[in-house]
């Protein structure tokens, strides 16, 4: 099975993080349902033309997050759990919120100011189309 994963050399993040993110996306959008077998580590490494150890790392971390399950000798499958897609988005949201707080602190904003900025953004994006012009 071809993974369809495409890595970017211009992306500053390590390759294992890129692989993890793209696998999470495939699961989150439902392309890879629960129980679906993942390509073997060596297969994925050959496909992407990267080292085996990098793919191993990505699978290991995804297993720790509970996104995939690995059985010795049988390979890895997408983990069970109907809410997996939601959980992946949940983790994504948590990461972005942390980033918001970190950037806010960098700008010297108080917690109150960060909250009000978030509220403003919510209002702006939630506003109906016609009000935006």
């Amino acid at each position: 099975m071809l993974s369809g994963i495409v890595l970017s050399h211009a992306d500053g993040r390590p390759m294992y993080l890129q692989i993890m993110e793209q696998i999470r996306q495939r699961i989150a959008v439902g392309d890879w349902p629960a129980g679906q077998p993942l390509p073997s580590i060596r297969q994925m490494a050959t496909d992407l033309q990267i080292s085996v150890i990098t793919v191993k790392r990505a699978y290991f971390e995804l297993e720790r997050e509970g996104v995939i399950a690995t059985q010795q000798g049988k390979g890895s499958v997408v983990a069970d759990g109907a809410d997996l897609g939601a959980r992946i988005y949940e983790q994504d949201l948590a990461r972005h919120l942390e980033q918001v707080v970190r950037l806010g602190a960098l700008l010297g904003l108080t917690p109150m100011e960060i909250q009000s900025r978030l509220r403003e953004t919510l209002e702006r994006l939630a506003a109906p189309e016609k009000d935006r012009t």
Binding site: A45, Q49, S51, I53, A105
Partner: protein
């Protein structure tokens, strides 16, 4: 049966202007090792010792379980070696070379050789003297790869290749790794190639191995930490930080033993941590060589 593709233990070799010091190196079966070093660091000498082309003065060398250089004839059935200075016969065609190798090595895979001809865009009826540098490199690699050796030892396999040819070569090397009993050692100046396809990374400089470990650990432990110093706060000296560049209230600290503790230690000292960044292998390489040279001079 040893589960190491190759092992060097305490290997020494002295020349008039260059010396290899106490080289220890191990490559487990089924792995790709990238061997990086500046010009004249000792990469090719190490590889020649591995291949029995140069004899070490001290230390032990094993290749696929065979002691080198005494058992090199036995080792070489299973080892494919290609280097930049490998000569093919100028007046003979590539096809002649292929038939020659095939007559010696029973492992020659004719179908794979045909696939490689297509992938490398080579014509078997062409004479070697008419080939460009890149085509010669690819021809030499084809002759080695089509034997399907258990260990590939490649000295600068991508040097002087255009980007398309480089990708073709990297693709073949990663294809080899589909078989977990096969191993590759390749030297390169191109850190991007090494970063992409290696499982193990070894740095060599001035005849010393300065670091050798698995790539993920390697890349994980080197980090750049960008910090901002509120007025009145001094950047504390923390262990594990090997380089600091500070201009005004901004500083960048580099560590090669990152484990998540440093940013918290900085924060505890009142320093604001802006970012913890990964580094490319090229950045790590340059910094590593500089640090090891400074330590050598101290």
């Amino acid at each position: 049966m040893s589960d190491l593709a190759l092992r060097l233990d305490g290997v020494n070799k002295r020349y008039r202007f260059f010396e290899l010091h106490d080289i220890h190196l191990e490559l487990p079966l089924g792995r790709i090792m990238g061997f990086i070093g500046p010009n004249g660091a000792g990469k090719s000498t190490t590889i020649r010792i591995l291949m029995g082309l140069v004899h070490q003065e001290g230390g032990e060398v094993f290749v696929l379980g065979h002691r080198m250089p005494d058992q090199q004839a036995a080792a070489k059935w299973d080892v494919g070696f290609a280097s930049e200075d490998m000569r093919l016969y100028d007046s003979a065609t590539l096809d002649w070379h292929m038939r020659f190798i095939r007559s010696i090595f029973s492992t020659w895979d004719h179908a794979y050789a045909q696939v490689l001809l297509k992938r490398f865009d080579l014509k078997p009826e062409q004479r070697i003297k008419g080939l460009s540098h890149g085509q010669r490199v690819k021809a030499a690699l084809l002759l080695v790869l089509a034997r399907r050796p258990r260990l590939l030892v490649l000295d600068e396999p991508t040097t002087g290749l255009d980007p398309v040819a480089r990708h073709e070569v990297l693709r073949e090397l990663t294809d080899v790794m589909g078989d977990e009993r096969r191993s590759v050692l390749f030297s390169s100046h191109n850190t991007q190639d090494v970063e992409q396809i290696s499982d193990q990374i070894t740095f060599i400089d001035r005849g010393h191995i300065i670091d050798s470990r698995d790539k993920e650990t390697f890349m994980d432990r080197w980090r750049r930490i960008r910090v901002e110093l509120p007025s009145g706060v001094q950047l504390p000296a923390l262990s594990g930080v090997i380089d600091i560049k500070q201009t005004g209230r901004l500083a960048v600290a580099t560590t090669n033993t990152y484990d998540g503790v440093l940013p918290r230690a900085y924060e505890a000292a009142g320093v604001r941590v802006q970012a913890v960044e990964h580094m490319t292998l090229e950045e790590i390489f340059v910094q590593n060589v500089q640090c090891s040279r400074e330590a050598g001079q101290a």
